[in-house]
């Protein structure tokens, strides 16, 4: 594996909450242009790892490098600027804003108009505002939400909310998109649509880090997967190999093969 191929490298990450070891010496690396799956039973530490990667938690130990730069201890907005965007397990949209406005907020980090530009409505600020709106509409369309632009995020159906979170994350122009259970609560049709969307995002040059409980989805999509159990990484590799790993089977099923 070439070093330049690695987009995100997390090395030896540990995180404790009081006496609880949520993560112990976990290392993962995500390559450019791949879908990396993160699986494990409930409470295994997947979301904690996500929160460490995106700067919401500071790790107790370990190093984070993204796109050739150290991001250990970076604040969330810095991480987003570096190029990691995320969605949340329990959807966190801006409920009182419209779908379009939610995506427009995502453009914040790639635009620069300040107070003066906004108040004086300079030519540059007006042009940027138009560009923000145009890009946000494109992204809504890309995620199949064009007809929902004016709807308040909190009034959207569940599946649309999940996709709106993805559209908002894409608006930050990420190099890595981290998705925390994007298919949770979706029916088979919605999951199929989601899968197509994720494949299209990947084809657009964005690497994906995916926490998912839908095994068919995550095993079918991912190039590589890592398995967490009780805060430790118990397996990593190609989906087919990981599925046969006895430790993984034990963690999930207590010894029975799927």
């Amino acid at each position: 594996m070439q070093a330049a191929d690695i987009l995100l490298a997390a090395t030896g990450i540990s995180k404790h909450f009081g006496g609880l070891a949520a993560l112990t010496d976990v290392s993962i690396s995500v390559r450019r242009g791949e879908i990396f799956g993160l699986i494990g039973p409930n409470g295994a530490g997947k979301t904690t790892l996500f929160n460490v990667l995106t700067g919401l938690y500071a790790a107790d130990a370990g190093e984070l490098a993204f796109d050739g730069q150290t991001i250990t201890g970076s604040k969330p907005h810095r991480v987003a600027r570096q190029g990691i965007a995320r969605t949340f397990q329990n959807i966190r949209l801006f409920g009182g804003m419209t779908a379009l406005e939610n995506v427009m907020v995502g453009r914040h980090v790639r635009t620069r108009t300040g107070v003066l530009g906004a108040v004086l409505r300079t030519r540059g600020a007006a042009a940027e505002e138009r560009a923000i709106t145009r890009r946000a509409r494109e992204l809504l369309d890309y995620c199949g939400l064009a007809a929902r632009a004016g709807t308040l995020a909190r009034d959207l159906p569940y599946g649309d909310q999940r996709r709106l979170e993805i559209a908002r994350a894409l608006a930050t122009e990420p190099k890595l998109l981290a998705l925390d259970e994007p298919a949770a609560g979706m029916n088979a049709t919605e999951t199929a649509t989601l899968r197509k969307l994720l494949e299209r995002i990947l084809a657009g040059g964005v690497a994906l880090l995916l926490i998912e409980h839908d095994m068919k989805l995550v095993m079918g999509l991912s190039h590589r997967v890592a398995v967490l159990d009780y805060g430790e990484k118990i397996a990593e590799g190609e989906p087919a190999a990981v599925q046969r790993d006895p430790k993984v089977i034990a963690a999930y099923l207590g010894g029975t093969v799927v």
Binding site: P76, H77, V79, A80, A85, R92, G96, M97, H108, D155
Partner: protein, 361 residues
């Protein structure tokens, strides 16, 4: 929007502008001069309420000490344009200076409260407001700076060259008393405040504030520097307060710490909440209503005297009674204000209607 609609809209705006320009004369002719003063005060409160709306309405940071920035602006002007320190700077310097000093105080308040939300933030800001007032009250010893509870008198009026707004002028057959002249200055400032608020709201900055209000964690994850944006909201809100304070000092000619009590902060907050938090038009409406209604209630006293021969209810008691009742009724029936923010209503309704059409069709 078609051409006819555009033309009608233009006509409407011209009519509103003419009405606002003629207002002080119409008010004086119909309601008397006292109401011209009330109109002046209402315009000041529009500025204050719009400033607080940035902090509370847009960014969702509950600030119970907002009047402190009004005080800072007022004292900044009063100290540098009165015999108190024997300094008489021109207002064109003092108003921007007051705005800047207030903005610095906004950041001073904002910095230690960045991690606080809701009730906790409210308590700290309330304390901040009191600190400023108590400071102003006691900064007369050992060196007399603010003249303590006696306040500062003989503050310079707004003045350009030899033209002083405090004097009565005649122009085109109309008499401009100080109240009239100040009306036009305050009107201009209020209109500028409205434009600034609207433009900020529809900008990258305004969306970042609303995003923080809606979900601070998600906002940070989308790349918004929440710390800087919150400080910016405090500073912008304080700026409005600082300018309004300077205008207030020059208008009154006298200020004392008595004008900057907690109840005044709460009054401004009520204007924002009752009018419609986050909606500029609603906040303006709230400011006008809450300035005018207590004044209108003053007539209740003489009316009782005329009808019943004696005063049963003191107008000032009635004021608090009705005020409390209005608040309770509002929270019950229109919790997002008289004129709520667009995001929460209009679009919502039209969208639901189109949805229904899709569903039935």
């Amino acid at each position: 929007m078609n051409a006819t609609q555009t033309r009608w809209r233009w006509l409407l705006w011209v009519a509103v502008a003419l009405l606002l320009l003629a207002a002080p004369f119409l008010i004086e002719a119909t309601l008397g001069r006292a109401w011209v003063r009330i109109a002046d005060v209402a315009l000041l409160f529009i500025m204050l309420a719009l400033g607080l709306n940035i902090v509370v309405g847009f960014a969702g940071l509950l600030d119970l000490g907002y009047i402190a920035f009004f005080a800072v602006g007022a004292y900044c002007y009063a100290l540098l344009a009165s015999p108190q320190l024997a300094i008489h700077w021109p207002f064109l310097v003092l108003l921007p200076l007051g705005a800047m000093v207030a903005a610095v105080f906004g950041i001073l308040l904002g910095a230690p409260t960045l991690r606080l939300r809701g009730d906790y933030l409210a308590i700290v800001t309330l304390g901040f407001g009191e600190i400023i007032r108590v400071l102003l009250n006691n900064l007369n010893r050992p060196v007399n700076i603010t003249n303590g509870p006696q306040g500062i008198t003989l503050i310079d009026p707004l003045q350009i060259g030899g033209f002083s707004l405090a004097q009565t002028h005649s122009f085109a057959g109309l008499t401009f008393t100080a109240l009239h002249s100040y009306y036009f200055v305050f009107l201009a400032c209020a209109v500028v405040s409205i434009i600034i608020s609207r433009r900020l709201e529809d900008s990258r900055i305004g969306r970042a504030w609303v995003a923080i209000r809606e979900d601070e964690l998600a906002a940070a994850s989308m790349g918004i520097n929440t710390r800087n944006m919150k400080l910016l909201a405090f500073a912008m809100g304080a700026t409005f307060g600082g300018v309004a304070g300077g205008l207030f000092a020059s208008f009154q000619g006298f200020i004392s710490p008595e004008s900057f009590h907690l109840i005044d902060s709460i009054m401004v907050l009520c204007m924002v909440v009752l009018g419609g938090m986050g909606n500029v038009a609603g906040v303006v409406l709230g400011a006008v209503l809450l300035t005018a209604l207590p004044e209108a209630l003053r007539y209740i006293g003489p009316l009782q005297q005329r009808w019943f021969g004696e005063v049963f209810i003191d107008p000032s008691d009635l004021r608090m009674l009705l005020f409390g009742l209005a608040l309770v009724l509002m929270m019950l029936f229109r919790p997002s204000g008289i004129w709520p923010a667009r995001r929460r209503t209009a679009e919502n309704v039209t969208e639901r209607m189109t949805e229904k059409r899709h569903a039935s069709g």
